[in-house]
Amino acid sequence: MSHYLVKRVGYSLFVLWGALTIIFLAIRLAPGDPAAMMIGPSGTQEDIEALRERLGLDESIPVQYGRYLSDVIQMDFGESLWLNRPVASEVASRVAATARLAGAAAAIGLSVSFPLGIIAALKRGSLLDAAISVASLLGQSVPSFWLGIMLILVFARQFQILPSAGSSGWSHLILPSITLAMPLIGVLTRLIRSGLLDVLHDDYVRTARAKGLHPRVVLARHAMRNMLIPVVTIVGLQLGTLLGGAVIVETVFGWPGVGRLLIDAIYQRDYPLVQVAILFITASFILINLLVDLSYGLLDPRIRVQ
């Protein structure tokens, strides 16, 4: 087991390094120059060149890359070019907000899609099953900015029972987390339904029923555990997507999270801030998937033995 763990951690670090390198190159390939952005339309070419030198942007790419890697290893993330404040504290202050939003969305997503998916599978072919399937398809297809604005217009403006923007209380969390959870519900419901249907026709389930076990026990003890592995995989990937998809929801609802910070930083070509924000999102994604990988051991004893 520990050999498995070490291998997984090793892969994760490799992926992290790859992501960091790609982001380093990608943001520099984008046209547009941080110094020009900071000086704005009223600057001259000389002003821009002078600023580039001051910020160390005129050094060659390999030199910048070397400095970047050594900074990351020492956890010294430098200052934001655009905001003139330490990058680490900027990102850290937003992380809690994004985590709250993503956590709430994940909780809503999981607690809604499991019952719906199970019911749809058990009542397969019925009107209820059809309704759930259509609803989950809609949930997956609806664009989140449209859904967010619609929820604001209906619940904040029309009925005035929920606030329209901001992040300070529990009531502020409701609309954004529902919006963020919607695509997750759509994907997971259908996945759980099909996963369960697959498993319910297997021999061991038939045996369990033949033994006389109560249907609910069959479901909980035998069927669920066996269908969970693919589901857990997708949940891990989707949770990572939640962090990225939060960008749109954060903008629509004025939520002070990492996603919004990232968008603004890209717009401003603020290399240090973009790099660290992406580092955070990538690291979270990798960590979640590492946990998913490790959970396979818990779910499937066969993997533990390997």
Partner: protein, 537 residues
């Protein structure tokens, strides 16, 4: 931060008082209480038995009371008055709250009025003296002296931000005594007083330290209390302000980037005050009796530059033809109602140095004959670059202009560019036509005409020696009448030569809850909130 922070006794009391005085129906009262975060049963009780709260009501007369929640047009990026964001609109509004300048502008007349400086004069061609106000203190109690002015100006020069070009000719700053500042320049600089309206003064001790401007000590009518970036900034009244304590106890600046959410928050009463609403949403707001729309002519305007170094715009006749092709009257009436009016010069009438010019009447035949004279009887093809979100109705304006140009045979392709790319190409003169907005931040034509139109600046490729001489002379004299005369000439040349098309002057509008009083819209788009009151206070 928890939800209960919004539910202060002042905000609840002021709502109840508004209801008591008849300014608000009970239904609206319950709605506003719910929007604040008060639970439904409690809101019902308060609405039914307002006397439960009324006892706490009246504050001592004269003490600041009430709080105002406002939303600025863009997120606040930073509040350092001397750095990179110094002239950003949102930053400027905040600076006016917690800091002061040496000289201010009267929002109604536009005149220069004393602020931290009580008097100023040019003691020689290259020297200005400022007399400072006595007895002013920063929010931490330290006294305001000439050393603070010197340190602030030197910081502007050192940080190389957008304010620096205004002070480029400054050679030295002397402080012969704690209440006198002398600014010496290498050449005569007549714009020092207007530039001083953008120079906010910070404390010499400490303002250059890292992190000072995330929790700064100010000198203005409001004190900085807290800031969660992208979320909320809170300012509290400075009861010891030299100009008299403000009438509001607290200002809350919230960040709501999505326009639909902002509008909704305004209508439900979650926020009290907002800047700039899109023109297509104004009519709905105008019908709402709970809201007030206040506007003023601003320092901002739209313009479309021609790259005078690229064919066919090297020929003034072609540039003039492009101007005659547009029906600006129709554009203003159909597209820009409530947000713009027809421009009469390269700068708006609110700016010092403005002189009305002969308008280019809509005349497509004349346009086509000018094109033929210049050698383009069948028109030509060209492009226009712009950056979305530059101003109200920008996309609609571009499309309208393109169709007018098409009618005279000129096919224009619209190149919509992301801001980073647009700036890069703009500075490199890599464009045919460039459409954008500009705001004359100092209210003085020097900020725009001299900085952008001298040949040396090379912002649009237009080079004219006569214009250069006029503009250089305008900066070299301290005689304001002479400057006005020179700027008038500059306006005429730029207008007649059609260096650009200047179709629209922008109107700045503010929307707020009725019952809020004392607000004066400022053409600078940077109003102050010192005399504003909210209902019930």
């Amino acid at each position: 931060m928890t939800a209960t922070r919004h539910i202060t006794s002042e905000s609840v009391t002021s709502l109840i008082q508004a209801h008591e005085s008849g300014a608000m129906t009970r239904r609206t009262l319950v709605r506003r209480l719910l929007a604040l975060g008060v639970s439904a049963p409690l809101a019902g009780v308060l609405a039914a038995r307002p006397e439960l709260v009324a006892a706490q009501a009246t504050p001592a007369s004269g003490a600041p009371a009430g709080e105002l929640t406002l939303v600025l047009p863009r997120s606040i990026e930073g509040i350092d008055p001397h750095g990179a964001f110094a002239v950003e609109e949102s930053t400027s509004v905040i600076l006016t709250m917690y800091l002061d300048t040496l000289i201010a502008r009267d929002p109604e007349t536009g005149d220069l009025v004393p602020s931290l400086a009580t008097g100023w004069e040019a003691t020689s061609d290259t020297s200005w003296r400022f007399d400072l106000r006595e007895g002013v203190t920063f929010h931490d109690g330290t006294g305001f002296t000439s050393a603070d002015v010197k340190a602030s100006l030197e910081r502007v020069l050192e940080l190389d931000g957008p304010l620096k070009p205004l002070w480029a000719q400054v050679e030295s700053v002397e402080t012969p005594d704690p209440l006198t500042v002398i600014i010496n320049t290498t050449e005569p600089l007549g714009t020092i007083p207007v530039n001083a309206t953008l120079l906010f003064i910070g404390p010499a001790a400490g303002m250059s330290e890292d992190g000072f401007w995330t929790n700064p000590t100010g000198i203005g009518p409001f004190k900085f209390a807290s800031w969660v970036p992208d979320s909320e900034m809170i300012m509290e009244a400075n009861a010891d302000y030299w100009g008299g304590a403000p009438l509001l106890e607290r200002l809350i600046v919230r960040d709501i980037p999505e326009p639909a959410a902002r509008l909704t928050a305004l209508e439900t009463g979650e926020i009290d005050f907002t800047f700039q609403i899109a023109p297509d949403q104004l009519p709905a707001l105008q019908d709402n009796p709970d809201l007030v729309i206040d506007s003023a002519q601003s320092y901002g305007y739209y313009f479309n530059w021609f790259n005078a170094q690229r064919e066919p715009f090297t020929d003034a006749r072609v540039r003039q033809a492009m101007t005659y092709a547009l029906d600006v009257e129709a554009i203003v009436t159909e597209l820009m109602a409530s947000v713009g009016q027809r421009a009469q010069a390269p700068i708006p009438p609110t700016v010092f140095g403005f002189e009305a010019q002969t308008p280019y009447e809509y005349d497509p035949e004349r346009a086509m004959s000018l094109l033929a004279d210049a050698g383009y009887p069948d028109g030509f093809e060209t492009t226009v670059q712009w950056n979305p979100d530059s101003g109200p109705q920008d996309r609609a304006l571009i499309q309208t202009m393109i169709s007018y140009w098409d009618a005279i045979g000129v096919k224009v392709e619209s190149l919509e560019k992301e801001r980073g790319l647009w700036i890069e190409d703009l500075v490199a003169l890599n464009w045919d036509m460039n459409f954008q907005t500009n705001v004359v931040r100092t209210g003085d034509a020097d900020f725009t005409l001299r900085r952008l139109y001298v040949s040396e600046a090379n912002r649009n490729g237009y080079k004219n020696e006569e214009l250069d001489n006029i503009l250089i002379a305008s900066a070299a004299t301290t005689d304001q009448e002479e400057r006005e005369q020179l700027f008038g000439d500059a306006c005429r040349i730029i207008w007649d030569e059609a260096v650009g098309i200047f179709p629209i002057d922008l109107i700045v509008n503010y929307v707020y809850q009725s019952g809020i009083e004392g607000f004066v819209p400022a053409p600078s788009s940077v109003p102050n909130f010192r005399s504003v009151t909210v209902p019930g206070s």
